[in-house]
Symmetry: C2
DNA sequence: CCATTTATGCCACTCAGTGGCACTTGCTTT
DNA sequence: AAAGCAAGTGCCACTGAGTGGCATAAATGG
């Protein structure tokens, strides 16, 4: 049970990495090594089967140091997806609705954040990460919790910037959860695809989910013996 | 990280409690005592501030026994809500759509399960439980995970019983998540109400959320300076 | 090159959760 | 009523996640 998380400091874009001071670059490298090694290790032995001591030994870092980068064992394995949500949160600060519905705005921002993820293996990391989550309850729980927290933060930003019909109006929350649900479905579908499709394919699946949103309100169960 | 959960055996209805053999009644009493005491203890000292040893001492049960009833520390504090989701799952086995949309069916079943919760302090337990969850990340995560798992199980039941447009259709999943999101919003609103309103008030809040679903697709952000 | 700040290593500690075995207790059998 | 069975429980030792504290190493700024 982590008390207070330090600043997670997600990975910044590749291009400005050279500009950073030496100390920061070293930290980034350690963080990246921890993520990469953790994903491999957990995939090999299973999330519960691998211990933090093993991970720290491989990366040649003390356990104490690990917990200065990540708040928990689950946290390190979820880092790839979290980076995307964090990017989304940043974009919300500057987006302009321009007559679109809230739902459309959220959908576009999510697609935008997705498109901006690095191409250097991010897709592979996300895939490994979510395959692990499918098999480890605690990882899954951690991921859902992060989604939920970030979602609330996103709504706070929007409530601050726009008039969304009062704090007691459930509609913004429902719209957001619809987008999150779409994302989860897309991710699930994308993970299950043969081969190792990239970002673009995930974006396509996401668009499919978005397109199905209106129909989800009117879908009627067919007859009992339809198969 | 629990490996495999034993049968959680949620509390059965009050009326048939007398019919149970002595041994079963004793188990029920122990389970109930653990839940009740846990909620009080965690509320007093905070979820992280209280240890399982303290809880077991108060209930006069060994820690080993605690883990024969609940899979984790979080689990015991979430039991009240879980009972409702489990009831919902049972109801889904026998519901008939009768021309309604999937969304309407899910909404009605949820309201039905809610109405059937015991009146003996269930509302209070749920309130305590969710106040704790608001303040403890790990409890919140555990609750979200359970919701998600149960939701998937619910969809499995429906897919087995009805034709929902194929396994690759995102609409059923979106409809379900919409209902879950409605429930979360209702719960959040209900918890924040002054006094200690009962089940009925929660059902009202839930109906409000359901009514707002269509509007969540068309809501447009107002002008930046609307306040 | 030194002073300060910042990241890390090391060690001991708490507490959640598990495995194993002995023991009690409610229920059944004769 | 005594004996037998099996479910449920207690006790104890153990693993592993996560934290606190302090000493050390390394990067930065002057």
């Amino acid at each position: 049970m982590p008390e207070a998380a330090p600043a997670p400091a997600p990975a910044p874009g590749r291009q400005d990495r050279h500009r950073l001071p030496l100390r920061e670059r070293k930290k980034l490298r350690t963080r990246q090594a921890l993520i990469e090694t953790a994903l491999d290790l957990f995939t090999e032995r299973g999330f519960d089967g691998a211990t933090l001591d093993e991970l720290c030994e491989r990366v040649e870092v003390s356990k104490r140091t690990f917990f200065r980068y990540f708040t928990s064992k689950e946290d390190v394995a979820m880092a790839p997806t979290q980076d995307m949500w964090t990017a989304l949160l940043e974009d919300l600060e500057s987006v302009e609705p321009e007559g679109r519905t809230l739902l459309a705005v959220l959908q576009d921002v999510l697609l935008g954040a997705l498109a901006r993820m690095p191409d250097d293996g991010w897709a592979r990391r996300v895939r490994l990460s979510h395959r692990l989550a499918e098999r480890s309850p605690s990882m899954d729980a951690h991921g859902l919790h992060f989604c939920d927290r970030t979602g609330r933060a996103a709504l706070d930003v929007l409530h601050r910037r726009f008039d969304l019909g009062g704090a007691a109006d459930p509609r913004p929350r429902l719209a957001l959860d619809l987008v999150i649900a779409s994302f989860h479905w897309a991710l699930h579908t994308w993970i299950a695809r043969p081969g190792s499709p990239g970002r673009a394919r995930l974006a396509d699946d996401l668009r499919d989910a978005f397109a199905a949103v209106p129909g989800s309100l009117t879908l009627k169960p067919g007859p009992t013996t339809a198969r």
